[in-house]
Symmetry: C2
Subunit: 303 residues, 2 copies
């Protein structure tokens, strides 16, 4: 089977696994809180690729863990998707990127109003930490593992991670800035949660510190590749392909990899990051094959 | 010494203890994330009463704990203040209550813009969970205690707690609704985090389940009293006394205790909740005296 066929089948299987778990872990609308729950569910089930949960599960697999026997790890994967989804809802707000379309569907604030969308995001963040810290869920993670996972996600989400990165991104719109600032924005806004997703899988499957370090390096590199490819797609795709406004970065005056280096050099840099991600996995055997395929998949999106 | 003098001295001491801890636990502005950190710090140090942290510490004291010997409990207290502050920042946004003034100072979005204020709130929520889940902080809480505390705060903050309550509150502005809905709003929007603050102190100090139940009942009653008194103050105070727009509930068409029952009956209901709070502490000795004084203090604010 060709690599690209294999990874597509793997992605579909894992996506279903994650979405079934989301159905179990995300509350159903019930009185009196049905409006807030419905607004959270809308964006959570609006068709994401579930990359962060899938990376979390693949990292666990690389160190001998299995999502099918570790229900707790699936709850962790769901929590990561809650954090990611909340960040999209808030990024799309009129006060931020002011996007009306996401994955080909109306954004949260278009349907639920600005207040509703702010609260959907806020509620999803709380829900993520509720899932991460639920000791009663099942005994397959120790309290210490669960605590370390919670801490990893909290740090990656906060002022020196995703939120700090979005603040930097907004503050630097229509500004001239050096390439170092673009790296700061990417590492914090997108990279931190992607790396954390992999780290959580590693902690949950009981990885030792050498394995954790290798997986963190892998995470750093694919986080970088992911953002470079996103920058590329924003320039080279149509709105229909993206499911959101194409060229929106340029319209907002946002500096991106292509605006610094042009399209060809940007593609090379993505390629280099993917090669480094593979190198980071050198000491792993076939258990890391899905991580390797995921790295290739992230790059292939750019072509 | 008169009770009211004693409680004021206690409140001042505890407030200083909490604010010194906030200085230790809240990051200082540093590049490249200084803007987000500054906006979080602005609202965090804009002069709150620190009631939730103080309740947390007093609940720990009631079951034999001490904040001065339990640094972890102080970090928990700081996390509670982060959650409370984030909720105020988001509640004040133009898309929500649209308040320009809070505690006599410009609200977060007036100074940092809407995007900045949304991200200040988001960052404070993450920071709260970062503090709660930091196993490296000190060994005075076990991983399981820390996890239970994290879970308690997450649940109280989310769709069936504070966020859900704010969503209900917004959805019911300028609406006729039964008294049961007002109770739902109060219990979730304000009551849940107040009760959780007390619960966290109890868990952190190793309370048994009978003690926890009693403290939860105390928390429920003072949470109720707190909200009733807030409703009363909104009607009976001047803007200068409140440090925010007086009569804003009526202006927003919000149903409140006084709008259902009038001022006299509302005051009686607050009195009854305080009496029930005292009853809940019947089995505690002098270690719960500060909790008793805090209950009285909450009621005295209404006069």
């Amino acid at each position: 089977m060709r690599q690209s066929v294999k990874i597509k089948s793997y992605l579909n299987t894992q996506k279903k696994l994650v979405e079934d778990a989301l159905e179990r872990y995300i509350p159903s609308p019930s009185a009196p809180f049905e409006q807030n729950i419905e607004s959270m569910r809308y964006s959570l089930f609006a068709g994401g690729k579930r990359i962060r949960p899938i990376l979390c599960l693949a990292a666990a697999e690389a160190v001998g863990g299995s999502a099918t026997t570790n229900e707790d790890l699936l709850a962790v994967a769901c929590a990561l998707e809650c954090i990611h989804t909340y960040s999209l809802i808030h990024d799309d707000l009129p006060a931020m990127d002011n996007d009306d379309l996401r994955r080909g569907k109306p954004t949260n604030h278009v349907l639920f109003g600005e207040a509703g969308a702010i609260l959907a995001g806020d509620g999803l963040q709380s829900l993520a930490f509720e899932l991460l810290s639920d000791a009663a869920l099942s005994p397959s993670l120790t309290a210490l593992q669960r605590l370390q996972i919670t801490h990893t996600v909290a740090k990656a989400s906060g002022y020196a991670g995703m939120v700090g990165g979005q603040a930097l991104d907004i503050a630097n719109e229509r500004q001239e800035f050096p390439f170092e600032m673009l790296q700061n924005i990417h590492r914090s806004k997108t990279g931190a949660l992607i790396t954390a997703s992999i780290h959580c899988g590693a902690i949950g499957a009981g990885a030792g510190s050498v394995q954790q370090q290798a997986l963190l390096e892998y995470g750093k590199q694919i986080g970088l590749a992911f953002q470079i490819v996103d920058d590329l797609l924003n320039v080279t795709s149509t709105s229909k392909q993206l499911g959101k406004q194409a060229g929106s970065d340029a319209a907002l005056g946002k500096a991106t990899y292509p605006s610094f280096f042009g399209i060809e050099e940007t593609r090379k840099r993505a390629e280099k990051a993917i090669a480094s991600a593979h190198e980071a996995l050198a000491e792993f055997g076939t258990s890391a094959d899905h991580l390797r395929q995921l790295a290739d998949y992230i790059y292939e999106r750019s072509n």
